[in-house]
């Protein structure tokens, strides 16, 4: 309790308040720009924090982290240009809403869900971090492989309109996931002599291409030829979501926050799996699953509460075991050690005052970005009023600069341009892009963990049925595949 009081007094200083404000605002901007990831945002802050007192340093890193994840949702909704892979699922329903002039409702729901997910995850982190990190360790390569399959099941939901075309897109994504050095033998696969492809097809250029660049093309090309009907975005109103909508989405928000926190705590799972799985669960449990992907507020609620819950989740193994839950928290570990704080049990004993300062500041940062987001959304929704011929080139410029900034590689810019064209034509010919991206993200996770399991078990397939955890995930997979089939069969009767 003393530590909480010290933490509160740390946060009551002018310095702390200013750091929080700057961190939150900077994080939101980083999240909005395509190509600037949360990892990069936090990494760029590390040198600044060298000369700061440790509590301020952590407040800054924490605020940048949580608000950058939220920031991605705003552009995902308004422009269909998700800043990071965490907001892909948000764009699926957010953009259709924005193009009907309901952008502020979508942002409102995204903000509320992000706040909810972020807060729940920090509370769980404070309350049961040691217990959850123990469960997280029970996840081995076998469980990760099965979890990736569970994530891939999401594709079925996203393609329900046109299964054949969705399957083609998903297979293309899986094929793209094969490119790169084989991490078990070191042999290059389908790299065609380009060492730029040794680490695999870089994900962010593909994302920026498929979503942002193709969107820029859409906006530049006259409405009759493009996918967008230009006159559909004239009626922009400033409503926030209705209380009844919030009530309707509450269950999804709660469920997704738990999923997000838990998956966040698994090192090696990743933010997007949490968002995909939550989105799929929300759709599966919904009374109107056919609305998902066409502008369903509940889809936004699921995706956003999950991806923000991941922020608290990833800090669970980071703070309790010193094992970073993802790339951002790996940078966090560097930020902690530079101040002499070794991640692990010590953080909750010797450094408890500073650790609680971080945790409470995370809660405040969540509230801050929500307030700023709602206040700004009134003005931000107006970007949808900007004519496509102006907005398109602006998005294009941001996409090119952002892609180049990722690793200062011109190759990536060409890749983004190529995927921009691919995305544009996929959309015109009604091939969904989401399955491609989901397969591209989850395919490699499935591959390395499957092969790792096989290596550990000496090619004994029963290794996937050895633990209760594996069996539990398998039953979830079976359930989520069988349930829609059963429902369809019942309808026919």
């Amino acid at each position: 309790m003393d530590n909480v009081l010290i933490a509160l007094s740390n946060l009551a200083s002018i310095d702390a308040v200013i750091t929080l404000l700057i961190g939150t605002l900077a994080g939101m901007m980083i999240g909005m720009l395509p190509g600037l990831s949360s990892t990069m945002g936090v990494a760029l802050c590390i040198p600044i924090t060298f000369n700061m007192p440790p509590e301020l340093a952590l407040i800054l890193l924490g605020a940048v982290y949580v608000s950058s994840v939220y920031g991605g949702s705003i552009t995902a909704i308004l422009l269909r240009t998700p800043g990071t892979d965490a907001s892909i699922a948000t764009a699926l329903d957010g953009y259709p809403l924005a193009s009907k002039g309901r952008g502020s409702e979508a942002i409102g729901m995204a903000t509320l869900s992000s706040l909810f997910g972020g807060t729940v995850s920090v509370i769980i982190l404070i309350a049961v971090a040691p217990l959850l990190s123990k469960i997280a360790l029970a996840f081995g390569p076998q469980e990760y492989a099965l979890l990736a399959i569970f994530g891939l099941v999401t594709i079925i939901g996203v393609v329900s309109d046109n299964p054949a075309k969705g399957l083609v897109a998903a297979l293309a994504g899986l094929a793209l996931g094969l490119v790169g050095l084989d991490s078990f033998t070191g042999v290059p696969r389908f790299t065609f002599g380009h060492s730029e492809l040794f680490d695999g097809v870089p994900l962010l250029p593909v994302l920026i291409g498929l979503f942002s660049v193709s969107q820029a093309f859409n906006l530049c090309i006259p409405a009759e030829a493009g996918v967008l009907k230009k006159d559909s975005i004239v009626n922009v109103h400033g409503h926030l979501p209705l209380i009844s909508d919030i009530k309707r989405c509450f269950r999804s928000m709660a469920r997704s926050s738990l999923i997000g926190t838990f998956i966040g705590a698994l090192p090696g799972a990743g933010t997007s799996i949490a968002a995909f799985i939550s989105y799929n669960e929300a759709r599966r449990k919904s009374k109107n699953p056919e609305n998902f992907g066409k502008g369903e507020l509940e889809g936004i609620a699921a995706s956003e509460s999950a991806n923000n819950a991941v922020t608290g989740g990833t800090l669970i193994p980071t703070l309790t075991l010193g094992i970073p839950g993802n790339a951002v928290t790996a940078v966090f570990v560097g930020g902690l050690t530079i101040h002499g704080m070794i991640p692990g049990p010590d953080l909750f004993t010797n450094f408890a005052d500073i650790t609680y300062t971080l945790l409470i500041s995370l809660l405040i940062a969540n509230v801050l970005f929500a307030v700023m987001g709602i206040a700004l959304s009134k003005y931000l929704v107006n970007v949808t009023k900007i004519p496509g011929s102006i907005l398109g080139p602006i998005i294009l410029i941001f996409s090119i600069v952002g892609t180049y900034a990722l690793r200062n590689e011109l190759f990536d810019v060409w890749l983004a341009a190529a995927f921009g064209l691919i995305g544009y034509f996929m959309e015109r010919w009604k091939y969904p892009t989401a399955p491609l991206v989901i397969a591209l993200i989850l395919g490699p996770i499935l591959e390395v963990n499957f092969r790792r399991s096989m290596q550990i078990s000496n090619w004994d397939y029963s290794t996937f049925f050895d633990s209760y955890l594996s069996l539990a995930i398998i039953s979830l997979v079976v359930l989520s595949v069988a349930y829609p089939l059963w429902k369809a069969w019942q309808k026919k009767r």
Partner: protein
């Protein structure tokens, strides 16, 4: 007439280049220096580069800008460095033993050769450790080796990628102890540490700085550190040599420039690096990050990399670790 003109012209060009050369060195650096990091922002190489850059600015009197050029396990960044203008305004981080093996392990595709790069100074050497779960069956390296010898190919040990320093260390370990292990590739030390603590693998081979926290908190037990002497950060952990396994393995991070950099500019950079390395505040920051300082300057660093190249090439020729 023509001949005379030609002679004076060539003399002028000669004088011009000479004075340009020395003028360049005299006022070097007169503009910001670019520091190329072949790995992503936030990794341990990047962290070291950013700290080094901060102190290098102090000693060089010019800005030092860190530019990340990650990809292909460092190859893209090193190719970029090798092809940069050799004027001293582009320097880069190189990681041994990776930088010296690509030219033969990726002979067909690699974009640089070690002749294109002139090593400047080694800064940090992060030794490998072999570690197990603290409450597991192994208490000493001898226990471990005996068990592996009687159970060939059963014991699983993690490493961070084929051909990386951890994988190479385990190959040498297997050679020296006459053992066969099941070496499992992990994408990051974090994932491998989690797998070790969760009991999914038997042993972990990785760099000291990335597990020193778990070693000191007692959740992980390090059986050996592959350095010539014990390390301050994990003083209780015996070296391999103390336990009759004569193995030295580490990841070293240093600086290099493109090969054609003029000697006087090169010397200035070596001197500036020495000033950074002897800076007490710089030393303090490295200690906090558990990055053991191991300065090797100029030609000695060139020899260090050459020796490492030769011994790894010898292993590769007998038993290449990348098989088609």
């Amino acid at each position: 007439m023509f001949k005379k003109a030609f002679l004076s012209a060539s003399a002028a060009i000669l004088v011009g280049t000479l004075t340009a050369g020395s003028a360049m060195a005299a006022d070097f650096p007169s503009k910001p220096i670019k520091m190329v990091v072949a790995f992503g922002a936030g990794g341990s190489t990047d962290t070291m580069a950013r700290i080094f850059a901060k102190y290098a600015e102090k000693h060089l009197g010019e800005r030092v800008i860190v530019v990340n050029k990650p990809g292909a396990g460092g190859e893209l960044g090193w190719t970029f460095l090798a092809n940069s203008k050799a004027d001293g305004y582009t320097i880069g981080l190189i990681n041994s033993p990776v930088v010296e093996v690509y030219p033969f392990t990726r002979a067909e595709t690699v974009g640089y050769s070690m002749d294109d790069i002139r090593p400047l100074v080694n800064v940090v050497t992060d030794p490998g450790v072999l570690a197990v779960k603290a409450d597991g069956p192994f208490q000493t390296l001898t226990d471990f080796i005996e068990f592996v010898q009687s159970h060939p190919n059963e014991v699983t040990v993690s490493h961070e990628g084929i051909g990386g320093d951890d994988h190479l260390a385990m190959m040498s370990f297997a050679n020296k102890t006459n053992t066969e292990m099941n070496m499992v590739s992990f994408s990051s030390n974090a994932e491998a540490t989690a797998a070790l603590l969760g009991g999914h693998i038997d042993a972990f081979e990785g760099n000291m700085s990335e597990v020193s926290a778990q070693i000191n908190s007692g959740t992980i037990k390090a059986l050996a550190v592959w350095s010539p002497e014990r390390l301050d950060a994990i003083a209780d952990v015996p070296t391999g040599a103390e336990q009759n396994v004569d193995l030295i393995a580490a990841a070293s991070r240093g600086l290099a420039v493109p090969a054609g950099v003029p000697d006087d500019v090169y010397q200035k950079l070596v001197d500036a690096s020495e000033a950074v390395i002897n800076d007490e505040e710089f030393k303090q920051e490295l200690v906090k990050l558990n990055m053991p300082l191991n300065p090797i300057y100029g030609s000695e660093y060139v020899d260090f990399l050459q020796d490492s190249h030769d011994s790894l090439k010898a292993i590769w020729d007998v038993n290449p670790w990348v098989k088609d």
